[in-house]
Each structure stands twice: as structure tokens, then as C-alpha cells.
Amino acid sequence: MASLGELERAVMDLLWAGQEAATANTLRDMLALSTAAHGGAAGHVGKDLAVTTVLTVLSRLEKKGLVERERGTRPHRYQAVSSREDHTAELMHEVLGSAPDREAVLARFIGSVTESEAETLRKLLGHS
């Protein structure tokens, strides 16, 4: 049985790749299918997966604000809140932002660089 973290990742990958909202049942079938397609090596993510496990994973993702469900239908259908690209952009914004209180969260190899600094460094590299 795969860990919840691996399952979360697999479910998000499916939701990001798919165009429309999916039910837990559909997601379970897709996970089983991708396991069959990849064979043993790539992952046993979907093997013997219960729908309740998928629902657990989905509610964890919902708590993290990554997934939302349409409540109008039965069974509920789930979809990603925003695209993979948007989430990457959000992360990079956090990394590249220069607010003082953010600087303590992570340590960047290169902090904010002024335009004149960048210019000097480009010259240093031999192409201005």
C-alpha cells in the first residue's frame, strides 16, 4: 500500500491532467489503470485501493485548499482548485518575493538583485 503522500501526489496529477471534475470512484479506477500501465516498477499506487482511501486523500487535499468538490451532485465530484502552473507560480512568488518577513522562511542562493548589479554581472560573464 502506498503512503498517503504518494497517493495525494498521484490524485493531484490526475486532477491536473483531467479536464473535468471526477468522482472518487473514477479516480480510483484511473489510479488502478495507471498502475497497470506502468507495471510494478513505476508504482503500486493504485493497487487494491479502496474508494474510502481515495476519499480520505481527497478530504486531506481539500483541507490543504488544493481540491474543491461540487456538492450539487451525488456522488460528489472533485476538481483541482487551480492548475499545476498556478501553484508553481505561487511557490516561485514566495521564493522570489523580497518581503522582509519572508526572507527568514527560506535561504536563496541569490537574493534580490538590482538592475545595475545584474548588468555588472552580465558583463562579468562576457555577454552584455
Binding site: 511557490l91 514566495e94 518577513d101 527568514a104 527560506l106 535561504a107 542562493f109 554581472l121 552580465r122 562576457g126
Partner: protein, 328 residues
Amino acid sequence: MFWTSYFLAVLAIVLAWPVPILLSRAQWPARDPFTAMLLWQAIGLAGGLSMIGAMLVYGLEPVGDNLIAGLRALAGMVLQNAPTTALGFWHLFALSAAALLTAHLVFTLLLTYFKIGRQRRRHRELLALLASPSADGTGTMVINHDSPVAYCLPGGARSVTVLSDGLLAALEPAELRAVLIHENAHLNQRHHLLLWAFAAWRQALPWLPTTRLAQEAVNSLIEMLADDVALKSESKATLIKAIAIVASGSAVPQAAPVMGPAGLSDSGLQFPEGAGGAGPAGTTASRVSRLLSPRPPLPGTLRAAVLAVCILLLAMPTALLIVPGLLG
């Protein structure tokens, strides 16, 4: 007692304003970032201690000959309803200010701790879904993004170094190693604790020049310390090139000339005005100019002198506050 509070107040003012300005303009920290880091910590701690101590000693002056006797008398007033008539308005004001400042500093420190922890946790959650573990490195993740980015996210056993696709494409293997060693040095030397303490210090007293200057200096000094670790295993030219490529934010074209260390140091490039300072904007420039034209490390005697000043800075307010009570 009275003179003690005056002396502590003068020390607090000196440490809050002229000393940090002089230190932030000094050139020697680049020659010995470790010692400079200790000095900044001593200035911060001694500054806080003398600020609170001055108010406490002034406020307790009428009820005790020394701090310990004064605190005992104050405890009697608070806990056993002893008469408070000995204390005038300004004494009570100073005591309240001391209590409020202490609470404010401790509270901000804790608040910043939880805020940083929450942001890191959220960041790690997203990384687990978006980034993939790198092929070779343990604890290294690769995120799909075009600009060259490298950073580390501290978190005890779950610390992680993150590289972008753009970075992997732009750097040669040796340059990449330099970047990874640099980031690991941040994690190994627990630089995030320094960043946390000085970020909290600034958050608590943003109007005090020392807090801004100290945070900017510390940000700069930890980069120099990490650079020095990277220099132990990678060449200077490699590190400079890695810094320049990441900072200029663009991938190097194939035709870029390969430069040796000699070519770099003879290039005669001038950095813009103020680049030698420790400001956030000048950090990268001062790192590179420090690598291009290295100056000898601080002589042993000077180093010892700075360390003695650090010890004195911490010992002086502590002794003034506690020793009279022990002697009396």
C-alpha cells in the same frame, strides 16, 4: 543604583544607533564574517538587555538599593498588597514600560517562529506535489520552472534544497556542486535560527535603526559564510560564475567564453556605488567583489579584540544588574 540606570540607558542608545551604523559601514566583516556575526548577536542581546535593565533599575530605585532587593520589594507590593506609595508616577511608568517591552519581545519572537513554521509547512506541502526528487541528490528536489533558482527550506530532518529546471540547464556540473554545497552550508550551520532571531528583532522594533541594519548585515554574512564553505571544494572561478549566472537570471549562451581566475580578477569591473555595503541590494555585489579581490583574513589580535568586545558587551549590563545585589 541611579547611576546604573543612566549608564545602561546610554549603553542602550549607543547600541541602538551609532554602533550599528558604524559596523554596517565597516569593511572588515567581509574578511571575517563569523566574528562579525558574533558581534551583531552581542549588540542585539546587550542592546535589549540594557534597554529593559535601564527602565527596571530606574523604576525600582526608591524601593531597593539594588535590582534584587528592588524586585523583592516589588513582588511584595504585587503579591502581598504592600504599600506602593514609595513609587512615583515615572517609576511606575518605567516599570510598566520594561514589562511591556519584555512581553513584546518574547511574544514577537514566538509569533515569528510560528509564522515562519506555518509558511515552511505550506511550502513543503506544495513541493511534495509539484517538485520531483532529484536523480542524484538526497534531500534535493527539482521544480519545473524556467528561471534559475536555488534555495533551501530548513525544517530539521525534513530540510530540503530546491533547484529549478532553469538552474540545472544553465549550470555546469561543477557550478551546480558549488550551489549545492553553499545551500547545505546554510542548513548545516543552522543559519535559519539567526535569520529567525533577527527577523523577529526587526519585526518587534521596526523603527530602531539597529534592527534593520542588523538583519541586512546578517543576511549578507550568512551568504559569505556559505560561500567560504563552497570554496573549500570548488574553485573560486566556478563559484563566481555560478553566482553570476543565477543572478543575471538568464541561461548562458553556448558561446560564452570560459574564464580562468586570472581573467576574472583582472577584468577591472567596478561595482556600483554602495555595493560594498551590507544592504540587501548590495549583497550579491559584495559577495562577488569579495571573491574577486580577496583581502587577507582578520589578524589574530584584531579578531581576539572583537571577541573580547562581544564578551564585554554581554558581561557589562549583566554585571551591573546583578553584582550589586550579590555584594550587598
